[in-house]
Symmetry: C2
Subunit: 658 residues, 2 copies
């Protein structure tokens, strides 16, 4: 390791961060300056990557969990030779740049995760590590090693304080993810103040209690950093590794270094002197020396050789193992069988069970057709029923297991699922009670923003939960998920719509899907063909019962209330249409013609029924419509009693239509 050049490069990375943040007068100096030596070691020495092939399957994955320090990433990606030009660095945080305020997956080559909301990146890294373990177990052969990479993440004090990180840390320690290296930028400062104001924990002791190996080093000592990372990479002992790097926040700007003033952009006003102190030329902003350029150019050549060698191994492996290669390729392409529906048996005409049970049947059928599918549950497999019967359990000793026991860690589950989805080798789904979607909402939002196809299986929908009462009855949760952009929320109305919902989730490639399933049994709507129900769920809204003669009234429903709308229509007679609306988002994406066909504007007598908050239905109801729903919390009593008590009945629909 050439410490002279890397020390210089570290200061130039500091300069890029200072100049970029000064230019837009916003952003965070603390981490890019405080972790400059760490960046130099990682990108200059320790990480395996190829800037020209940022998705190299066997690259080391790097996640900046402390995403506010985004200029750290952009500086090092630029210096390393990724397609992040100096122009883009100069356009930091400007409209249309690939250098947004916080790192965004898909926006920038080399950015492995959308981070910023603290703690998430730790979970993402755990997901990457799990994916890496499983990829190695699944695809490596005695002859060929296709996967043997590591996952490295940087987190700050903020990440460590967040519960989502602590859930993920506990999971990683228990799951033996020794391919994971967490670098803790321990600078004793948070945004508001010195960390001692809010933080008293003994980090080494804490990580040790969570089954991790911990070591504390000087985060500005290039050799110490390199040694710690090298040792962590070499130690395959079933324990994840944390390197507690003691750093000086905003090192390089003496006026703010080591204090909370160094965290944000405040230090930018001192940068002229700071740049001089770091040996950067006064006349050239965004300066990168020839030595640094030469060093990273050579490193890139070296990387290319390693990449080419790996590519040869990969090609030989693929030739020798065409089925495995096809499976890997299909996983990466996010492809699901186009005829997935044919893989899911039709339910018998007298089937009457909860959609969570139908979901169990469906996901097991889907899993047979999609070997890349993993699923997990936050300690509720027995209730969420998404367990893959022949899948085996993921564990240290069985990384091939397809069922992930996340523990009672919903937020951790969400962030870990995102990590698996970012890696893009396996398709991932996770389950809990719908009421606890709230706990993992921070991660769901990021999946939607990052356009990754995570599937959420949320069972125990609405007051059908019954005796567990209002704490466990999610009356508002479906609506709260519907407002998240780019998240499809599907609340199927029977077992066949459930099949359609899973197909929709699996065939979606550009965002997550939440499946909302009941705890209680609901009937099959056999008056509609299986194909219509499956296709209808994928369209989001469809005519489940066509009027006879002139259309006078439209009844709309989703999920377990579809049965009431259908029964009410039977009672109300000829002119009544029932529209099943399992997914607003998918319906809204249909063309205007289809929407008009299903919900003709001329018909203003419209009634919706859904066992939840009514607010979002008005878009479809119009001024003359009526919404039947539950605009309050639920009640602890048997589910059928609660439905009746709160007026979610066939009778209510009939009365509203009269």
């Amino acid at each position: 390791m050439n410490t002279t050049v890397l020390a210089k490069a570290a200061n130039e990375a500091r300069g890029l961060a200072m100049d970029a943040i000064h230019a837009c007068n916003s952003g965070h100096l603390g981490l890019p300056l405080g972790c400059a030596e760490i960046g130099a070691v990682l990108f200059g020495e320790a990480l395996r990557y190829n800037p020209d092939a940022p998705k190299w399957l066997n690259r080391d994955r790097f996640v900046l969990s402390a995403g506010h320090g985004s200029m750290f990433l952009y500086s090092w990606l630029h210096l390393s030779g990724y397609a992040v030009s100096l122009e883009e660095v100069k356009n930091f945080r400007q409209l249309g740049s690939i250098t947004p305020g916080h790192p965004e997956f898909h926006e920038t080559p080399g950015v492995e995760a959308t981070t910023g909301p603290l703690g998430q990146g730790v979970g993402n890294a755990v997901g990457y590590a799990l994916s890496g373990k499983r990829a190695a177990a699944k695809f490596n052969t005695a002859e060929h090693v296709v996967f043997d990479h590591h996952v490295v993440a940087i987190m700050g004090d903020g990440c460590l304080q967040e519960g989502v990180a602590k859930e993920a840390i506990a999971f990683a320690g228990h799951s033996g993810l020794d391919n994971l290296i967490l670098i803790y930028d321990s600078n004793n400062v948070t945004l508001d103040a010195m960390a001692e104001i809010t933080q008293g924990e003994d980090a080494e002791e804490y990580f040790h209690s969570q089954c991790w190996d911990a070591v504390t080093i000087d985060g500005h000592d290039l050799a110490a950093i390199a040694e710690a990372v090298e040792k962590a990479k070499a130690t395959q002992n079933g324990r994840p590794k944390v390197i507690i790097a003691k750093t000086v926040i905003a090192k390089g700007i003496p006026e703010v270094a080591g204090t909370s003033k160094g965290h944000g952009e405040g230090g930018a006003k001192f940068i002229e002197a700071a740049r001089a102190g770091l040996g950067l030329p006064k006349e050239e902003l965004f300066f990168v020396s020839e030595e640094t350029k030469a060093y990273f150019a050579a490193k890139k050549e070296e990387s290319k050789k390693a990449f080419d060698a790996w590519q040869a191994t990969y090609d030989a492996w693929a030739a020798a193992n065409p089925e495995l290669a096809a499976e890997l390729t299909a996983g990466i392409a996010l492809s699901a069988p186009t005829d997935l529906s044919s893989a899911i048996p039709e339910f018998a005409a007298d089937y009457k069970d909860a959609t969570r049970s139908a979901g169990s049947t469906v996901i097991n059928a889907v899993a047979k057709a999609m070997p890349q599918l993993l699923t997990g549950s936050a300690d509720l497999f027995g209730s969420t029923k998404n367990y893959l019967k022949d899948g085996g359990d993921y564990s240290t000793g069985n990384p091939l297991g397809r069922n992930i026991w996340f523990g009672i860690r919903e937020h951790g589950m969400g962030a870990i699922c995102n990590g698996i989805a970012y890696d893009g080798i396996f398709r991932v789904s996770g389950a809990t009670f719908l009421a606890f979607a709230d706990y993992m909402r921070g991660s769901i939002r990021l999946a939607a923003l990052s356009h990754i196809p995570v599937t959420y299986i949320f069972t125990h929908d609405s007051v059908g939960v019954g005796e567990d009462g209002p704490t466990h009855q999610p009356v508002e949760t479906v609506s709260s998920l519907r407002v998240i952009p780019n998240l499809d929320v599907i609340r199927p109305g029977d077992a066949e719509e459930t099949a359609g919902a899973f197909i929709a989730a699996m065939q979606r490639t550009d965002g997550p899907t939440a499946l909302i399933l009941t705890r209680q049994a609901i009937p099959l709507q056999t008056s509609v063909s299986v194909a219509e129900r499956r296709d209808g769920a994928q369209r989001g809204g469809y005519i489940a019962r066509k009027e006879k003669g002139e259309l006078t009234t439209i009844l709309m429903a989703s999920g377990s209330e579809l049965q009431y709308a259908m029964d009410a229509a039977d009672q109300l007679g000829d002119g009544v249409r029932v529209v099943s609306m399992p997914c607003f988002e998918r319906f809204d994406r249909q063309g205007a013609d289809y929407q008009e066909e299903v919900l003709p504007k001329a018909v203003t007598k419209r009634i919706s029924i859904e066992a939840g908050i009514t607010g979002l239905w008005w878009k479809y109801l119009g001024t003359d419509g009526k919404a039947i729903g539950i605009d309050r919390f639920g009640l602890s009593a048997p589910g059928n009693v609660v439905f009746k008590e709160l007026g979610i009945t066939t009778e209510a629909v009939v009365n509203a239509a009269k």
Copy 2:
């Protein structure tokens, strides 16, 4: 301590739980049976309480964080002589009973917190402990000790796995809450499986790393439990205490004890033999022996004496300290000054700043008029600006401090705020960026369900956040909060509406309020009187600009978009009305007459503008309306650039109205 009777009582408590759960065929046997001896020691010996005065100010507070074990609470409250009759125990989980599936605050005397969503109760207990520390510091005098109680909570493995608990545990350890005793029902079992499947941490080491004292005991040994609780109560060393009680889940039903099958209601089918094994009479269900009744009757008498002695102390204290007594009484009554508005100075006509800054002015004025008000921030005081300038910082050494530094622990903050609000002595508010409301949503929901008046100060609303980009731009968060029942969401349109919003939050007694404040400066709407704006914010919706002549068009807006609606109206001319809608929930609670006055049904040309998801506006817009909003994620660029890029402008309103 009479261990013979308490051992017998423990088995009878087991019997009550078995019979109640068997009767309704739902619920959780594991904890009530596994913690029966712990219950016997707590309610039979260690806790200070008076069943006839469940709100006794100096009682020990008991929180069952593992709320699914609700029959534990109902059994012991019944046995202890609270107004929880045997009839109510028999009606466990039935409509109208005070024994709902999970404990609900307000529903049952002796229930101190709504629990069930795991981990929350740990945070609630931390809040109670903070409130207790502050109450003692604030109200005790050299002559009179009014507060010297403890807070005891039971949590299970599930709670310990949850991030919200881990955040609260870290905060408690750092904050020196040595009046807090956490009993960890460590039974090595979770709902789905043996805990070892998901959990590997060393609990003693973990708690020690978080600045807690930890001890491990046999959770079925009455003497050991009593000794551990007594020692924890007596040790005032600045460290919270955890008692790791090794228990056998569902102890008493051999067929399921010690396994995950013991967790739920599954063991109920074996209860006939189990009841015999416990020495309970076959012929009498819900059996309580005369010895147990006599024991708790005597205990109640004893409690009454202690209560009376305290009451005498309290009376003497109140007589000697009328001002303190008035302050305490006002706190408990949840009362805010009726003329709170007069305590808040009017903003100068040329004031132009962010509503977060206006909020700073307002909360500091309110805090002068309401000494019971506390506030906190998740490491963002500098940004959320709710710091009380003369308030001091809450810490181990300064429990009188009114500013709480929660650390980067949003979910923990939410649960701790709920605990403080449950205690009801102080009024509490907590702040973070609106984007991170997602992290604490589980706690917000419980505040709403529990009807407690927590105030959330959520700043950095919408795309006005600018360069930080979509991870930090909450476009959907306001809508996602609006769908929570019983939560008021107020998004004020200028500084005076901000004053009104704080008044509304403070004067509300039956539920929480979320205040949504901008990062960016917005103008004062001086064309409307100060009184109208303050009053209007409290009404939720009001006419901010009245049409001249015939009303043709209604423009509706909230928050930072009020300015665009007002400007557009000026351009559009006479027939245009602007309705400011800072709070949908409050507007919906106004009478129909007022609503018709503000939004006359006859006027169907309506346009809304709000920098967020549009879905919930359709209720007010009707079929002919137009919604201007942001139905997508935001962008990283300066705020004004993003507003323009996404079409949130005066021009857009004008065009829509043409």
